[in-house]
Symmetry: C2
Subunit: 455 residues, 2 copies
């Protein structure tokens, strides 16, 4: 009787959770991901009792031979019992994970979600339902916490993520087990538990029980935390959004960030990281960007798609294709990089004799720092032409070389820290040339688009 | 040599931490709290090497007999060696904790900080220095996390708290131990460790080492977390401040909070709690206040100093002394409460015979809900006088009772949920009287200020 009440209670909390988080309604068609384990079996039963319109999807990962087939047969039978559509697929998970060089766990997840989405399209399901529950959520947050995280890592598994809905997040594992027992439902050893990593099981079975000895309410405390941290994260993001509006000034394709205003901002480092993250900059680059604040004009930091340039009183964030046509960032001293005018190949060598080949540059490797930037030349560029003492504007250099207007337009330069290293196909910079002291040579070879080296 | 470098490194990081957090300078006089344990011995040595102007304060808590005296002697000797002023005090900690009904730990802390502050005044010290270090900080945050916390609990021990400065927060315990060993410093078994609670030691010695098996970098990860959460907390508080300005409208002594605007606010519950916290409302009252949002006008919730009243489209927060002179909140059905006109005492009894004593009210306890509010009557008040069927305005009742203007001004009422329960010293409300069905009686006795019961 007690248990019946608790079970009834779970049905009510299930529908209450769904409507509170606006997960879905009776009008939607739901695809429930079912491994056959306790959690997904209970999820189906709750959906059935609540009268939702759903089908079942089961992945056979073929990782455990006959056991995998047994699970598939079980879920097929369970679908029949519930009288709902059944979708099944067999994956060559092992093979896929080897081909794609992924862990079995990641491979299984990729395959699974790709297929779910496909089933949704083909059979007109609105949402994918998974059986993640409160214990999963606690374990996830705990692992994030110990692994190091910002506020987002403490908000846990979200009830809504793209097409996925997770209507069991409110329920604890033991509640699902009681429900299952009360209704006399069968289940199989959940295959997904076997993919589940060692760390999660360690936290579940070893760390959490130890903490519970001191704080018996630890599960509820952590769930309450997750609720609060979701709110904190919402308010935090609002504040970041407000600061973005205040600090980022859009100028055409560029974003200007006033250095003084930024430096006066409380929690400056965190704010700066949040401001540059959307442009592809990583937390590991933060210190580099902070150094830009105090550096002379012209210094910059690169992300795959954007550049942050220090320009007097501002940091200027620009898309790279805008900065320099389709500029190319060269992160290290070996390899080949394609660009609009062909490709350049960098190699290191200990011996090299400078020749007349203008499509090859031989530089003192010790003087080169990465990243390098390959970009079209622009007005105002200058360099120290090889063999000359002084510097020369590129415009003047091209006149001396008697270049046509059309030829001039095609010229690209290789740049390091605002210094031109090589006017590609014409002349290297005197400051980076090989000398008697050179121990290692950086050889850069350019093949033009037409595959004919230019000379 | 390696170790010397690490030790040197600690000196540099010590001064860097102090200047980065603006803790103090060479101009300040510092009082270092020294138990004689590793941490505080190292703190003194670092202060000496950095050339800071400091004295040593030692508390003898007399909790461990001769051991306590040995510690005191050790610290006295250590002060001589360092050639700095020594301040010492003996506390009858056990006696104090029993008198004040405090745990030994809390008692010791109270005594210690009170005395430190006194020494600072008498001997012109600017700041009190304690030797809390990174491991303390990690353990504190971890305990908060498992006990349940908001963002503030994840920001850890602060380097600055009132007059206290904590310049060792950057250092790990093992670094302090290496420093001590390298410099060949002596120390005693830190008495404060004995006061330290069981939980902290459990986390230090059992939980953290287990987590480190999976995440060897857990200490650094948690320290990084603390840094990030401090920034998150700053940005969170800024957003709360902005929302306060937007949502709270000051009207004289009252604060108006527009219900619709509040309900549209993201993370509403958390925002609401932050808005009402400064007025003494607790997290445990939050659901009650949320219910007010949808309730009819006139309902309210009380904190010791303030009331939140639902009034049509607003919640109105008012100071109680303003709402009703020096109104008194009665939270439970037994005890004595002082107020401007004397005191009332509430007791529960199973048998009582109503008499003529108007300074005593006998009510059906089952009908009474807490808190009750004791306040001066005001225009518009009405009640159902005992023995009458209908309701009557108090103004009319006083006329019938032939009260003088001066007497009228002195009348107070006891109110429950906007209903008057008792016109104190005159008449109870008919709705709350004892009947045949009454099982338990709430007896309320009023003694007037002059200690003469009024009748």
């Amino acid at each position: 009787m007690q248990e019946n009440k608790a079970s009834r209670n779970l049905n009510d909390r299930f529908t209450a959770f769904i409507s509170r988080h606006h997960l879905f309604t009776q009008k939607h068609r739901l695809l429930v991901a079912v491994s056959g384990g306790v959690d997904s079996v209970v999820l189906c039963h709750l959906c059935k009792e609540a009268g939702f319109d759903f089908g079942i999807a089961h992945c056979n990962f073929t990782l455990r031979g006959e056991d995998s087939n047994r699970d598939e047969a079980f879920v097929r039978e369970w679908s029949k019992q519930l009288n709902v559509p059944f979708h099944v697929v067999k994956f060559a998970t092992q093979q896929y994970s080897e081909e794609q060089k992924l862990s079995t766990q990641v491979a299984a997840r990729n395959l699974r979600y790709q297929w779910f989405e496909q089933v949704c399209v083909e059979h007109e399901y609105d949402f994918i339902l998974t059986a993640h529950h409160a214990d999963d959520n606690i374990e996830t947050v705990l692992m994030n916490f110990f692994r190091g995280t910002g506020i987002n890592g403490l908000t846990g598994i979200q009830p809504v993520h793209q097409q996925v809905r997770r209507p069991l997040l409110f329920a604890k594992r033991h509640e699902l087990e009681s429900y299952l027992k009360w209704h006399g439902l069968s289940f199989v050893q959940d295959e997904s538990n076997l993919h589940d990593d060692y760390t999660r099981n360690y936290f579940r079975n070893t760390v959490l029980p130890l903490v519970a000895k001191t704080y018996p309410e630890v599960q509820d405390n952590l769930l309450d935390n997750i609720g609060r941290f979701n709110d904190v994260a919402i308010l935090y993001r609002q504040e970041i959004k407000r600061l973005s509006k205040k600090l980022l000034i859009t100028r055409g394709e560029q974003i200007h960030l006033p250095v003084l205003l930024l430096q006066k901002t409380p929690a400056m480092k965190t704010v700066l990281l949040e401001l540059i993250k959307p442009y592809g900059f990583k937390a590991t680059q933060l210190n580099e960007v902070i150094q830009l604040l105090g550096s002379e004009s012209g210094r910059y930091t690169l992300a795959p798609s954007h550049r942050i340039l220090k320009d007097r009183k501002h940091l200027i964030i620009s898309p790279l294709e805008n900065v320099a046509d389709t500029a190319v960032v060269i992160e290290k001293g070996t390899g080949t990089w394609e660009f609009a005018k062909g490709a350049i190949t960098l190699t290191k060598t200990s011996v090299a004799t400078p020749g007349k080949e203008v499509h090859v540059a031989l530089l003192d490797e010790a003087l080169i720092q990465y990243p390098l930037l390959l970009r079209p030349w622009r007005a105002g560029d200058y360099f120290y032409p090889l063999g000359m003492k002084g510097k020369k504007k590129l415009a003047k250099f091209f006149v001396d070389q008697k270049l046509s207007l059309a030829d001039k337009e095609k010229v690209w330069v290789l740049e390091m820290n605002r210094k031109i290293v090589w006017v590609v196909g014409y002349r290297i910079d005197d400051r980076f040339k090989m000398t008697d002291k050179t121990k290692s040579v950086l050889k850069i070879e350019w093949r033009s688009q037409s595959k004919k080296p230019m000379d």
